[in-house]
Amino acid sequence: MPAIDIPLFGNVILCLTLIASAYTLAMAIGAGRGRPQLLVSARFGTYATCALVFVGVCVLAYAFQTHDFRIRYVARYSDRSMPWWYLVASLWGGQDGSLLWWTFLLAGYTALTTRWMTGRLLELQPWVLATLMSIFVFFVVLMLFAANPFAIQPGSAGADGEGLNPLLQNYWMVIHPPSLYLGFVGWSVPFAFVVAALISGRLHEEWVLACRRWALIAWTFLSLGLLLGCVWSYEELGWGGYWAWDPVENASFMPWLVGTAYLHSAMIQERYGMLKVWNVFLMCLTFFMTIFGTFLTRSGLIASVHSFAKSDIGTYFVYYLAFLIVGCFALIAWRLPKLKATHRIESLLSREFAFLMNNWVLLGMMLFVLVATTFPLTSEWLRGEEVTVGPDFYNKWMVPFGLVLLLLAGIGPLISWRKASGKNLLRAMMVPAVFGLAAMALHLLFGASVGLPPMVESEEIYDTMTGRVLAGLQSVLPIVSTTLCTFVAICVLQEFWRGARVRMSRGEHLGPALARLISRARRRYGGYIVHLGVVVMYFGFTGAAYDQETEAALMPGDEMRVSDYRLRYDRPRTTVDRNKKMLFTDLTLLSSSGQTLGRVAPAKFIYRTHPEMPTTEVAIRSRAARDLYVIMSTVDPQSQRATFRVIVRPLVAWIWVGGLLLLLGSLIAMWPTTKEILRDRQRASSSSGVSIAAALMALSLAAPIGVWLLSPARASAQSDSSSSLHAGSVVMHNADERKLFARLLCQCGDCARLPLSTCGCGWAERKRAEIRQLVDAGKSLENIQTDYRAEFGAAAIAIPSDRGLDRALWAVPVGIALLAGGGVFLLGRRWRGREKPASKPDARDTTAAAKTTSAAKTTDYDARLDEELSRYEDQP
């Protein structure tokens, strides 16, 4: 390979990929239009396309490993000092390479799906392949004409590259983006199935069943990616939080919300043939949101702390998004007559309706995040004024949505399908309600004494009634959350108990009964475990209300106190490796009685290639009850004086445990049964697609857990990692300062969206000093904020006001959500009114069944069916 011109070879491979995908697209369309023999050609063409993408990724990886700085992308995102794993991670570290990586993951999914479809779904298959190939065509065109990872540097190649951004040089960079991309790209497969169903007109439950597991795989990877993003943010970004409502984070969260809604409503179509239009719409919307999220991340249209550089690929995305909207709506409109439900909701007190409500809340949340994320753009277009929507806005507004969703996660499993009686439901809710109330009483009585008071003070984000209502809700969040979390957890556990009791009545012991219960109904009980994970995570989120924070400047030997910890500053020390200089500050952690609890060593890293960007490394001591989060803000090597910011964050570990439970539940839900594996083995291993995907998923779940467990430096800065995003080195002198600086955003031009309360850049430091002088001179906080807005514009304020068009930011999504809620309720009532009592509830849309049901009734197949059923239930 060294004799080959690598940049040229890479470009040739990209061109061949475009030709192969376009050819396969044509073959697949031919197969779909009545020439089935072309399906074989399309299948082989698909494999060829995937192999070519694989070659492209290998060529780029080779270029990175051999430091081929003729390639612009390699020169920009690597240097000779980087270890091999960061050279591999550089594949997705920048815009151009990450598009190739995206296409590579799509190739992986496509190859597995094609393998899985061997000998099945012959009517859908051509259109599935055609849809997937059309996605290939888009991404390869994008690479060839707008973001070519093999483009050559102008001029001669340098002796060394610029190096990967220090912020990205940590192990989470190796794990987090691939898992997130796997989640994003994974939705292409179910989307391809739905498009295939729409084009072929096969719109009964076939496509839902076919893409059930693929949707779960995509959802699980997306959840894993989001969770790892939270861990990365918490451990590496150094500002003490795990979710900042950054546009890029929101871009991943939105498809997750819609995908979650789909996973619930698909069950209704599978069971009762209802919500066909809705499911098709949700699946199209999920895929649309993945592309829209990518557009937000990559176009540079919206300021974000971790978006890619501004580029012109946004135009391509706009065209593709428009194509998706027009295409999907045209297909749905064309097939509307075939998408009519075969049954209606019988009662508003039914699991179907609870699922509809769940969909309403999830879509409401998505709409809220969407409006808020795009509001800066909307505002600029409508009135020429750019604004910023900060995390406080989301944190306040998402609380009510989250609480309703949590409640539904508990009530949903208790309600029967079709029609529940109020009496039965009340009986089922009795035990959870008692536990919930008991938890509430305990929290009220003892919460304050253990540092977790039932109510907390909350700041108003607006000086209006809306601000006061939101602050009120936020202040009672701890007690409401404790009560609801307990209620929902008991609801879920009760379901396990009810199921196990049925098996125990057949003579099984509790342990085996529970194991078989889960094994026999994986999707249901896997789903319940996911609900349990959400409860545990929500409990962890509640801990943010109790954060305690202290800052101090210490000399070696000095101590500081936070909560009931004492921290003694021992000494600074410097370590150097070939990539960076590391400046640690060693601290001893003591209990209030003076007992040594451990050592922590927050640090600053100065990278060889980016000396102007020193990164802050936090030290975290994590326990079930609370985390100790230590940030070293500054250190003077001469005097050894250092300033520290220490945060005690209760219940954070619960978030990670809940996340693991959520992932475990989804893995259980998608794992194939022994019967499925054996049956598919008989089909010449054609199921290997899903099996391999599930195995890969297990591996990718195990990897971060392993990293987390084996990481030796849980209580000290990571010696091989980095990043502060200019954050974590700011000292606040009082609560007023914190409130004011949290509302004012840094305007240096580089620190997008960072408030002065956390931004550590020089501009922010100077601005804080200026503002402190104004405060000392007696100027009110409101006046300072008004002047700041006048000087830098509305975008310099973290939360838009609650006046004029700014109010649309919350009024539009809330209004639409309320209207939609009313619509769902009225629709449910109308459907219920139309339902004929004598109708059969679960007659699926099977053509054969419709034609021959009467014939079957006359045939005595009952004994045979009982035999089959008995065999089915006895199998492992």
Binding site: A48, G119, R683, T859, Y872
Partner: protein, 161 residues
């Protein structure tokens, strides 16, 4: 490790290229008229495969429904209602599966008779309840459909190999 990695990637790229060429050749052959017997088999067995998958889905639904009744989540009335509908569909599928193997039955019977000397007729008939024979041989408790667990599409799945 560092020294070997470029060669590993080069080797992987070479293998990928070889695979791409092979699949392209197979694709072009199939597109331009080469006979693909596997495709014919796949098309022929597809209907049966769909029925077998439908049967599994219906058995899962029935089992699930029974469990929900036992757990007290579905009333007896609802259970009867839904169960009757699911059973009717399942019986239809079983009958269609039987009809699907009917053309092969005589041939299989002849082959078996050839091997076993004509002693296979009675037990075989009991295994496949037909409208006419079902009444004469009721409750064939051990009568599993011989084809139910024998996937006919094994050949079809070799399309790519």
């Amino acid at each position: 490790m560092t020294a070997a990695l470029p060669w590993l990637f080069a080797l992987a790229a070479g293998s990928g290229l070889a695979a791409a060429l092979y699949f392209t050749w197979r694709s072009l052959r199939a597109a331009f008229g080469a006979h693909v017997p596997e495709m014919q088999v796949a098309i022929e067995s597809h209907a049966r495969q769909t029925l077998l998958e439908r049967k599994q889905a219906l058995l899962a639904s029935l089992s699930d429904l029974k469990f929900e009744r036992d757990a007290g989540k579905v009333s007896a009335e609802d259970f009867e209602d839904v169960s009757a509908s699911l059973r009717a569909q399942a019986k239809t599928v079983l009958r269609l599966l039987d009809e699907d193997v009917e053309p092969f039955r005589d041939r299989a019977k002849a082959l078996l008779a050839e091997e076993l000397g004509g002693e296979v007729d009675a037990p075989y008939r009991s295994a496949a309840p037909e409208p006419s024979s079902a009444t004469s041989e009721p409750s064939s408790a051990n009568t599993a459909d011989p084809s139910a667990d024998t996937e006919p599409s094994t050949n079809a799945a070799r399309e790519d190999s």
